[in-house]
Amino acid sequence: MRRAALALFAGAAFALGAAGADLPRQDYVADAPGTYALQRIQPAGNGWVLAGNYVPRRLSTYTHGAITLLSFVYTYCTDPAGCPLAYNTFVQVKERVSEDPALRGKVRLVSLSFDPTNDTPEAMKLYGGQHATDKTVPWHFLTTYSLRFLLPILEDYGQEVELDRDADGKAMRTITHMLKVFLIDPDGNVREIYSAAFLNPEVIYNDIKTLTLEASPASGPVR
C-alpha cells in the first residue's frame, strides 16, 4: 500500500505547476478581534501521527493546549491556490504572531501530510526547513505511518481524499482536494474552517486574537 501511495502522489508537481489557478479576491478589511464570536463547529479530529523521531503520538497532542492552525499538505504540491497558498499564509500568520508579545506561547501551527508514503518524517522536516526547528512559534510538520492511519483523520476533519475516474469509470491519475485550513482552540474545538475563498492572513490573525480574548492563559510552554 505504501508503494501504491508513493505512485499515487508522484508527479504532482508538474501537473500542479501547469494547472495554475486564480487566487480569490478579498477586497475587505478584516473585522477587529473580539468584535465577533467564533462558533464551536466540531471537535478536532484525532489519530496517530509521526513527527521527526518516528515515535507515534496522538494528533490531539498537537491540537490541544494552544491555539492551533492546522492544514493538510504534501511536500511537492505546486498549485498556487493549494499548498503554496496555505504555506505562505502560515508563514505570514507566524510572522504576525511572533511579533505580538500577547500571543507568545499561545499559538502553534501544524502541517500534516496527505502522503504518508512519500512524505516521511524526514521529508516533512526538510519541507519545513527552518520553520521546523524555529521554536518562536512552534510549527509541526507531521505525517502518518500509512494511509490506514491518515484516512480516519481526514474523515474526522471532513477533508476528503478522492480519485478521478475516466468515462469508463476507471481511476484516473488525478486526485482533487478542496483546500481547508482549521483553526482549533486550546480545548480542541474547531472554531473556523477556511477555504481558499477566504484564506486571509489578517482574518486568521484576528481570529487567533479573538480566541485569546476568551481563552485562559496557557499554563505552560506550547509544544
Partner: protein
C-alpha cells in the same frame, strides 16, 4: 469495493498527475449555489434531483426525492431512474449541497424536518442518511428554506417561527455532520441600520466583500394558506417581507437593511470575476432589484426593471443567472411564462424573450454553459393552481439563444410522484472529480 481497491492499486504503476486543492475561486455552481461549494459541473450534468411534494392518494402519497437521468444518449434519458420517499407530507421545498457536494440537504416548510441525502457515493441512487428534526426546537424558527454551504457548515434560513407562525425568523448554523451550532435572528426594528421586518427567505454570499445578503418572504400562516383565500385577506397580505439585509459575514451581524417592497425572493450574485452586485425579483411587485455599492461604498437596492404587467400579478418566483452574469431567466408562476433578461447593463435589464412553458411554472435551473434549462411546476401545495391548471412536471429545454426547445418532459402526476419543486444537478464521479470518500477508501483497503 474490490474494484475500488484494484483501481487504487493500479495507480502504483503509473506516474500520476495530482491536482490536490480546489481553490474555490470559481464562484458558485451551475449557477446559483454557494461559492464555497466544490465540484462545479461545467460540462454535462447527468442526473437531476427533484424534491417532490407528496399528494394524498397519489402513489405512496409521500414527499420524495426523484432522480431523473438527463444524460443525452443514455438509455434512460429523460426517465425517472430512482425515487426515495421520506415518509409523510411536510411541504417539501428547497435543497442545498454541502461544501464538498457529497450531501444534499432538503427541507420541509410545514414540519421543519431536514433530510440529508448522500449523493456523492452514487448520485444515481441518492441514499437518505440522516433526518434532522431539531431545527424548530433548537432555534424557535420554522420552515427551513435555503441551505447554503460554508466550509464544513450549513446555513439554514428559516421562514417563520414557532411562537406565532408569523414571518419573523432567523438563520440556523449546523456543521456538516448535522450537529446544531448556533442561530442568528433576522434584523427587526434595528433603526440604526435601517429597521428590518425580521422576515427571511434566501441567502447569498459575496466572499470578496465579506458580505452576506438575505431576502424576505412570509410566515407559516401565509405560506400554508390557500392562495385564493390569502389574496382576499387584506391583513394577511400585509404580512410579507419588504426588506433585504446586508450582513457582515464573518461576524454574522446585519449591517444594513434595504427597502425592497413586495417579497424579494431568490438572490443571485453576478458570477463574473470582479462584479460585486446581486439581483433579485420581488414577487408581489413584479420587479427586478439590483443590489450594489454606490460611489461612497454604501450598499443600495434599486428597482431596475419590471417583469410583465405588475397589475396582473404575474408573480415572479425563481430566477437563474448565467455564468457570465449577462443574462437572467425569470419564471412567472401565474402566467406560466419563462422570460429571459439581458443583463449586459445590470442597471437596465432588458427582456429579450418570453415563452409559456406551462400552465404554472416555478423553479428554473440552467446548466453552467447555459445551453440547457430545466423547469418545474409547483410553488407550494396550497398555492398551486387547481383542476386542469394544476400541471405537475419537469420539463427540459435546450436554449440556443433564441428559443427554448423541449427535449423531454416528466409528468409527475401521471407517474404518481407528486408536485415537482426544487432541482439540483449531480454528475457521475468522473465529471466532478469526485470519487470515493476517505471512509470508503479505508473500507476498501481493509478488505
Amino acid at each position: 469495493m474490490k474494484i475500488l481497491l484494484a483501481n487504487y492499486l493500479r495507480l502504483a504503476t503509473g506516474i500520476l498527475a495530482v491536482a490536490f486543492f480546489w481553490s474555490g475561486a470559481g464562484y458558485a455552481d451551475e449557477t446559483c449555489n454557494s461559492p464555497y461549494m466544490s465540484r462545479l459541473i461545467k460540462g454535462q450534468e447527468h442526473y437531476l434531483h427533484v424534491w417532490t411534494l407528496g399528494v394524498k392518494g397519489l402513489g405512496d402519497g409521500s414527499d420524495k426525492l426523484v432522480t431523473v437521468d438527463v444524460e443525452p444518449g443514455s438509455k434512460t434519458f429523460g426517465k425517472v431512474i430512482h425515487t426515495r420517499s421520506v415518509g409523510g407530507r411536510g411541504e417539501a421545498h428547497h435543497m442545498g449541497f454541502t461544501d464538498d457536494r457529497k450531501y444534499l440537504w432538503a427541507g420541509r416548510l410545514d414540519d421543519s424536518k431536514i433530510f440529508v441525502f448522500d449523493v456523492g457515493t452514487n448520485p444515481s441512487k441518492p441514499k437518505l442518511v440522516r433526518t434532522i428534526t431539531n431545527f424548530s426546537a433548537k432555534t424557535g424558527y420554522v420552515g427551513p428554506h435555503t441551505f447554503y454551504a460554508l466550509p464544513g457548515r450549513m446555513l439554514v434560513q428559516g421562514l417563520s417561527n414557532n411562537k406565532n407562525h408569523g414571518g419573523v425568523t432567523g438563520i440556523a448554523l449546523y456543521n456538516n455532520k448535522g450537529d446544531y451550532i448556533s442561530r442568528y435572528a433576522m434584523p427587526v426594528g434595528m433603526t440604526a441600520i435601517g429597521g428590518g421586518d425580521g422576515y427571511g427567505y434566501d441567502i447569498g454570499v459575496n466572499p470578496a466583500r465579506n458580505v452576506m445578503l438575505t431576502s424576505s418572504f412570509t410566515g407559516w400562516t401565509n405560506y400554508m394558506m390557500d392562495l385564493g383565500k390569502l389574496i382576499k385577506d387584506g391583513e394577511a397580505m400585509k404580512r410579507f417581507g419588504n426588506t433585504m439585509a446586508i450582513w457582515d459575514l464573518k461576524a454574522m451581524k446585519p449591517t444594513k437593511v434595504l427597502e425592497v417592497p413586495g417579497a424579494p425572493l431568490e438572490i443571485r450574485w453576478s458570477l463574473k470575476d470582479g462584479d460585486n452586485w446581486a439581483i433579485t425579483a420581488s414577487a408581489l411587485t413584479s420587479k427586478l432589484w439590483l443590489v450594489k455599492q454606490d460611489a461612497s461604498g454604501q450598499w443600495q437596492a434599486k428597482d431596475v426593471a419590471t417583469i410583465g404587467d405588475p397589475s396582473k400579478i404575474p408573480l415572479p418566483v425563481d430566477i437563474s443567472i448565467t455564468a457570465d452574469g449577462k443574462g437572467l431567466w425569470v419564471n412567472t408562476f401565474m402566467d406560466g411564462k419563462t422570460r429571459y433578461f439581458d443583463l449586459t447593463n445590470p442597471e437596465q435589464p432588458v427582456q429579450t424573450f418570453e415563452k409559456v412553458t406551462g400552465k404554472q411554472v416555478n423553479m428554473v435551473s440552467q446548466s453552467w454553459d447555459g445551453k440547457r434549462v430545466y423547469i418545474t411546476s409547483s410553488l407550494l401545495a396550497n398555492w398551486d393552481k387547481k383542476a386542469a391548471d394544476d400541471e405537475q412536471f419537469l420539463r427540459a429545454f435546450d436554449w440556443d439563444g433564441k428559443d427554448l426547445t423541449l427535449k423531454f418532459e416528466v409528468d409527475f402526476y401521471k407517474a404518481k410522484l407528486g408536485r415537482a419543486h426544487h432541482m439540483k444537478f449531480t454528475a457521475k464521479p468522473q465529471a466532478t472529480a469526485a470519487n470515493e470518500s476517505s471512509g470508503r477508501l479505508l473500507a476498501a483497503m481493509e478488505k
